[in-house]
């Protein structure tokens, strides 16, 4: 009798339920977001400017090589076909001005002809982004360390060639089963010819400001890194092998 009175005094089961519900809400809505920190791409690259603006098609920068590997991020060699700043000329100009070649701000402020004359952008923001790319990376001979939204660790071997033949239209039939594997919005609207949207940011070719790279603070991987079970599910649905060495190295 006293116990019931005592428990009634502290509210009964109520606090338990409050605690439970509170953490449920927090644990589903708030905490998962805390696992990630946002990182910006090293240089502002706008697909819209290049695809719509310059009329480049996907294969100009993203293509299959002859040996079957996929060239994902284009190298400086590819970018320099249009952003034709001669690194040697630029470095000479920098040396002439007596600027420290690693002092990027000073180089950009100096507005050297070797660089400025070869920039192709139209408005100021774009010009600044292009300038940053040229000064920090192109003339330094350094590749841009792009952040890969679909980052996979070294022990994973992903083959673009083996996924070449997938079509979004055909996969739409498995929409329900693939709802956890790919973004369901991929199947909405008219199915594009290429299947990049299945795993990569939808309609990236029209994107002007790339979304922030969300890095998991514990594992270091991207939020959109496809996990093993997702690959396995689709493999199983499509009758493809799920042997370990299919994907690991």
């Amino acid at each position: 009798m006293e116990e019931r009175k005592a428990s009634k005094r502290c509210g009964g089961v109520f606090p338990f339920i409050i605690g439970f519900l509170a953490t449920c809400v927090l644990g589903w809505a708030v905490i998962p977001g805390l696992f990630f920190e946002n990182e910006e791409q090293p240089v502002w690259f706008s697909h819209a400017v290049h695809v719509e603006g310059q009329g480049l098609d996907c294969e100009s920068c993203h293509y299959f090589r002859d040996d079957g590997t996929y060239a994902g991020f284009p190298t400086n060699e590819v970018c320099a076909e249009c952003h034709a700043v001669d690194p040697e000329e630029a470095m000479e100009a920098i040396a002439e001005e007596g600027i420290d070649p690693t002092d990027y701000d000073a180089i950009m402020q100096a507005e050297l002809g070797a660089i400025e004359d070869n920039l192709a952008s139209s408005d100021d923001d774009m010009l600044q982004a292009e300038r940053e790319y040229v000064v920090k990376y192109l003339i330094q001979g350094k590749e841009v360390p792009w952040l890969n939204y679909q980052y996979q660790p070294d022990n994973v071997y992903f083959s673009h060639a083996s996924h070449m033949a997938l079509s979004i239209e055909d996969l739409a039939g498995l929409k329900k089963e693939l709802s956890d594997v790919v973004d369901p919005s991929v199947f909405e609207g008219e199915a594009p010819e290429q299947n990049c949207n299945l795993c990569h940011l939808k309609d990236i070719q029209a994107n002007n400001v790339p979304p922030a790279f969300e890095r998991n603070i514990l594992s270091g991987y991207s939020k959109t890194t496809m996990k093993m079970w997702q690959c396995e599910r689709c493999h199983a649905l499509k009758g493809q092998p799920n042997a370990c060495y299919t994907c690991h190295k």
């Binding site: 338990f16 439970f20 589903w28 998962p32």
Partner: protein, 648 residues
Amino acid sequence: MSVARRTFIQLGAGATVGILFTPTVWKALDDVSIWTQNWPWIPTLKYGAIENKPTVSKMCESGCAVKVRTVAGEPFGTMGNEDNPISGGGICPLCANGVQVKNSPNRIKAPMLNGEEITWEKAQEVVAEKLAAAGSKVAVVSGDQTGTANEVFSALLADKGSDAFYVMPCDMQAADKAWTGLMGGTGQIGYDLEGADLVLLAGADALESWGPTVANLKSFAANESGKFIFAGPMQTKTASVTSKWVPVPAEGMAAFTLGIAYYVLQAGKTADTADFGQFKAMVMSEYSPAKVEAATGVKADQMAALAKQLLTASNPVVVPAGPVAAHGAAFALNLLLGGAMKALPEFAKAIPSAMSRSEMLKADILEGVEADLLFVYEANPAYALPEKIKAGFTVAFDMVQTETTATANLVLPSPHPYERFDDLASPYGLAAATYSLGAPVCESSVDASNAATFILGLADLGFESFEEVIGAKTEAIGADMDALQGGEAYVVEGQTPMAASLAANVLGKASVPVKGTGTVGLAPYTLLNVGTANQATTPNAPCTISNNQLIGDHMVVMMGSATAKQLGVTVGAKVKLSGGKGECEALVQIFEGVMPGVVAAPLGLGHTVGDEFSKGKGDNVYKILTVSSEAAAGASTWAGSTVNVAKI
């Protein structure tokens, strides 16, 4: 309701249970498990386009044609070059580790004058000054047997009125002395190992470290019906795949070869030289089977059997190694047999004032070198020829730190073969004159400069850079630069060798076996994975070095059980070998593939300067080799080295 302690506990309990119904804990565990797989000190890989770029490698003395595998422009491995006859698709353990040697912290990072870093401009000044002061007392020691860089160095010497060009002791030199020196022949001797139906390797460890090893191995494998026989004091790795091992002491190789010639002459074979009669008389009287058996221990019926095989073969060849006399005897035998020995024409020079190959091979480094100014190009005489080299001022060009660079006055870093223009012309042993070249695969990671280009800045030889010299060489030869840069070789067929004389008198005297005074004979052998005279073992190679060469930090010497009994030692006994001017410590291993009365010791160990993989491992057998003079032949040789063995 009042808020009591129990409330909080209930709240806490609810929260704890609640969190388990959310992804939080499970995701955190999953992410932490991934975190444990990705320690920051484990290197991550770089990805990009994979290209295999052809070039030449000078890691061994002959040089080879390889393809460097690169990813996103960064070299990571080496593979063979199928399109090039020097490689045929395979490579040796040295080149297999070429990229790792290139990236080694043991690289010389910048020019060093007496231990202090200086600029290339200052280095040029210093050398120019020394050069002017030295007058004609300039010498060059080159470790590169086949490159046109030698033309640049010899042209510099010619410009200063010096002819002191030295190569490290090698069979190419002994062969040339015998062929062009004693026998008046022309061209460079080559051996058609692929086309021969019987190959007698008279001391030549052709399938391990003699000559263009990879090309030899390829020829051996391609020669499906041919029979290979190895003669020598120990069963080297070559002997593990030949049909037979004939035990012959190193100093008796010439006599053994002439002993076989006895039977071949007896069968009626002749050679078209003026002194053939004299030669035949000499062999029949002084190198009869009984006499050879007495001098070398090789049984007469062994030699008779070998002679019979050589006579019945349609395209036989004898491949010599060691002293000049052994080479002369083998060439004479090959001329009698008329088989697969070839004479290769020499390629035209790029620099007119440069020495010809024969001229470069004339000076005998074992007699010692003395100069006011000495250039050492990618060779390690301080290690392999201790105390032989004396110079007022030494300039050493090398890729990595060695005993020679440690003692040189001026050390100049040369780029790794994959980082520079280089070429190779007819490595000694190939059956056809072959020219290959390579362009840089990547930029040098250190402040290195092509050695030949540096030398071109010291005298007016008509070229500004080594790249130009190579261009001129290619033109002079009549080869296609694009094809060569693409990895192909320019090949000119070998010709039938013709000698003016069989050097009867000299060979007769020089072939008499001469041995040292120690208790046991010393059979030094070279394994590529252990290292050569110029290149120490590479970073990934130590795990390939067996307990027959090295145990822990101790060198191992091999001997037969009979020899061990004679010396009173057993397996694992620590012994001291004294010979020449030095001594070595080693452990004993019993190996029945060594002749009685002989101890086999591996060359290439005992480095005192180098990276952690080669330094302090074993002992340096070059210290205990004895030099005996082949007075009659005008040369010196290491064959016939003996040692005293004492238990420690």
